[in-house]
């Protein structure tokens, strides 16, 4: 059988069958369509304006490494005019994050981008290893998730950036849609497919790889010979996501476009108006966004500091775990006050007349 030509250029030999479309493509055309789709996503959603300072959430894994590479490429190719930074969070997980951070440090050299590393230890006084030692493996992802979200915003604030981009890919988003349906999380179901989220008191967050398939991200990293770290977190059991992921993978075999279909479904419905969504507040202790008087990170940190890590964790659907009255006289470590970056305020003034991206 003669070699199959690329369906795009019809000259070079096709070496990839695109998981997303089934097209047979050569390496160069694959790079081109992969990058162009991300560019189209960015321009269609008007994610950036010239002069924006953008932090790339970098973990050293395949998604964020590809994101950093593509963002740098597109910024130069289409003259986005962005100041790019790498922002990494060091959760303090021996054998996982220490190794992946080495990858990020190499990426910094390879892509010539400024890097900021903010550690849980520095911000909260606790590493994940220490947290797991105290709380065990059952609820540790709660701590890590809450702490990471706030750490990313604080890292971005210290870099004085407008915007954080993260490497969430299409598979992640489709999984999240399924997961939120399965666990009845209406509020998150409504917003998990948004490409860009921004509350009044938060830094913008975007997912430029929203429509990029995980398989294609791996292919891109492989053929571009990108330097990334490929180990799963040693503390992550996440049974719910595991269920949704296994289901999604089996669906993808039956019809590869299912990932896009699930995202499309998520984008097409919204929360019915009569469903109450909790009002956003500001944490009285650290100034970060909160649903209650204290933000989740302050509640969890107080629990750790007082030796009652169950504080703020729910058992099952509604009930808080009963805990003994804490010793309120003990001095505890708190998180420093959160301040939005100054550039953010300026950009909001300018946001009334957003510019279209070139290209």
């Amino acid at each position: 059988m003669p070699p199959r030509p690329c369906q795009f250029c019809e000259k070079s030999r096709a070496i990839i069958r695109r998981p997303k479309t089934g097209d047979h493509v050569c390496k160069e055309c694959f790079f081109n369509v992969f990058e162009t789709e991300i560019h189209n996503t960015i321009t269609h959603a008007k994610l950036f304006k010239p002069g924006d300072r953008v932090a790339i959430g970098a973990s050293g894994g395949k998604d964020s490494t590809v994101l950093a590479h593509v963002m740098k490429t597109l910024n130069e190719r289409y003259n986005y005019g962005l100041d790019l930074f790498l922002l990494s969070i060091d959760e303090g997980i021996t054998g996982y994050r220490d190794d992946s951070l080495e990858t990020v440090k190499r990426n910094q050299q390879q892509y010539d981008l400024p890097l900021k590393i903010l550690s849980y230890k520095e911000l909260y006084g606790w590493t994940m290893d220490a947290i797991v030692e105290q709380v065990g493996r059952k609820n540790n992802c709660t701590f890590c998730g809450v702490f990471r979200r706030q750490a990313l915003d604080r890292g971005a604030s210290s870099l004085n950036v407008d915007h954080i981009v993260t490497g969430h890919n299409a598979d992640d988003i489709a999984e999240t849609v399924l997961m939120n349906i399965m666990r009845g999380d209406i509020a998150r179901l409504g917003r998990c497919t948004l490409i860009c989220t921004q509350g009044e008191d938060t830094i913008r967050r975007s997912k430029p790889l929203k429509y990029a398939y995980e398989k294609e991200i791996v292919m891109y990293a492989y053929f571009k010979k990108l330097d990334y770290f490929s180990t799963e977190c040693i503390y992550s059991p996440d049974a719910y996501r595991g269920h949704a992921r296994a289901f999604l993978k089996s669906l993808e075999v039956a019809r590869p476009s299912v990932i896009i279909e699930i995202i499309h479904s998520g984008e097409s419905f919204e929360v019915a108006q009569e469903v109450k969504v909790k009002e956003q507040r500001t944490c009285v202790r650290c100034g970060y966004i909160a649903s209650n008087e204290l933000c989740k990170a302050c509640t969890l940190l107080e629990g750790l500091e007082r030796g009652i890590p169950q504080m703020g964790i729910r058992d099952g659907k509604k009930k808080h775990i009963e805990i003994e009255a804490p010793d309120l006289t003990k001095e505890i470590r708190t998180i420093p006050m959160f301040k939005l970056p100054t550039v953010e305020k300026d950009s909001r003034l300018a946001a009334s007349s957003p510019l279209n991206m070139p290209g």
Partner: protein
């Protein structure tokens, strides 16, 4: 990146099974329990009462007394557990003479069975269906062959051969099943309308409804997710009165009342049973969930009840006849989703996203050159 905080700041573990605290019935407290339903123990009498009560509650929610002046009711009947139970409950609660004082009275009940003559043994199944419906003398049975969707469409050959072409030209097994279900639903709705019914009852239980909902999400039908629970087409309102009952309660009720279910004996080798289709994978997934985490199944139904279509577009898809978003109203443009070398031109315009995908989306086993899709008669002419 999956471990990132997207959508999950809190621990995302499956809900635990509830501990069974008592062996006696949760309702009457006295009787010994016979069945465990989502962590609660019920005795036989209370569970049967619960089934009837749930059915009546759904009927009262969906049929207001003002609209009950019409005396024609349509009931979709496949021969499966849900629809068989539905027939029994309709006969018992809505048309029996002793219940005449109730607010919903139906002088005519039409039972509609859509069947596929191309399935081996279809005639035997029809005989069983006829005999099952004959047990309710006041019900009228209407048999509708699936290929009626193509009758009068001006296609070459018989409607049966058109149905065969419709299926074989679909790019995937998923699309074939999706298309067949779509035809069945439309035939039920159109037949109900032609019989003068205002309401069409479907026998989907909580379990089968959650399968439909999740499949719909996976097939890109999120915009019309609310229509899976209750929809209106051509003046006929269709809904699922067993939506609050799991398959376990339905099966126990049918067993205790000696209600004969037919469709477990029907074999459909060409339509189901392969792991290569999304609907079958969803069915297996939900069945597994129901066994290990029963409350998740009811959560899926409840979650989908709380979402509505984004936007107020009134355009209608020519194929599925449900509301659709226009290209401009969709959140994402095709060029940002996927740039593809293949250009598929469909002979019919005005299709919703999911129907377009059904007709065009391939997998690794699809034929390289797919033949153009065949459309049922209602997609070719404006007749509704």
């Amino acid at each position: 990146m999956a471990s990132c905080e997207i959508g999950g700041n809190e621990e995302a573990l499956m809900p635990k099974r509830r501990k069974i605290r008592s062996r006696s019935c949760i309702k009457c407290k006295g009787e010994k329990g016979h069945l465990l339903v989502r962590g609660l123990v019920y005795c036989k009498t209370c569970l049967q009462a619960l089934v009837v009560q749930n059915f009546k509650k759904s009927i009262n929610e969906c049929i207001t007394p003002a609209t009950s002046s019409s005396t024609v009711l349509a009931v979709g009947y496949s021969g499966g557990l849900g629809s068989t139970l539905l027939l029994h409950l309709v006969a018992q609660s809505l048309v029996s003479n002793s219940q005449r004082t109730r607010r919903h009275r139906w002088d005519e009940v039409h039972v509609i069975h859509v069947h596929d003559p191309s399935i081996p043994g279809d005639e035997d199944t029809l005989a069983k269906i006829e005999s099952a419906v004959a047990a309710y003398p006041s019900f009228h049975l209407t048999l509708v062959p699936l290929d009626q969707s193509f009758a009068g469409g001006g296609y070459e050959g018989s409607p049966a051969s058109s149905l065969h072409t419709f299926r074989s030209n679909m790019p995937t097994q998923t699309a074939t099943t999706d298309g067949t279900r779509l035809l069945t639903r439309r035939l039920l709705e159109r037949t109900s309308k032609s019989l003068g019914a205002t309401h069409l009852l479907l026998g989907r239980s909580m379990s089968s409804l959650s399968m439909s909902l999740l499949s719909s999400v996976c097939l890109g039908r999120g915009f019309t997710i609310a229509d899976e629970r209750q929809s209106s087409s051509g003046g006929v309102i269709s809904f699922n009165p067993l939506k609050d009952l799991g398959s376990k309660e339905c099966a126990a009720y049918a067993w205790w009342n000696n209600i004969q279910v037919i469709s477990s004996q029907i074999t459909r080798p060409s339509l189901t049973g392969t792991s290569g289709e999304i609907q079958e994978l969803t069915r297996a997934f939900i069945t597994g969930l129901e066994k290990d985490y029963p409350s998740t199944v009811s959560t899926i139904v409840k979650t989908c009840a709380k979402v509505v279509a984004k936007g107020d577009s009134e355009s209608e898809c020519r194929l599925c006849s449900r509301r659709m978003q226009t290209q401009g109203e969709r959140a994402s443009s095709p060029a940002m989703i996927a740039i593809t070398a293949r250009k598929t031109q469909l002979p019919v315009q005005d299709l919703c996203y999911a129907c377009e995908t059904m007709l065009t989306s391939a997998n690794s086993k699809s034929a390289v050159d797919t033949l153009p899709p065949l459309f049922p008669v209602w997609a070719l002419v404006d007749d509704d």
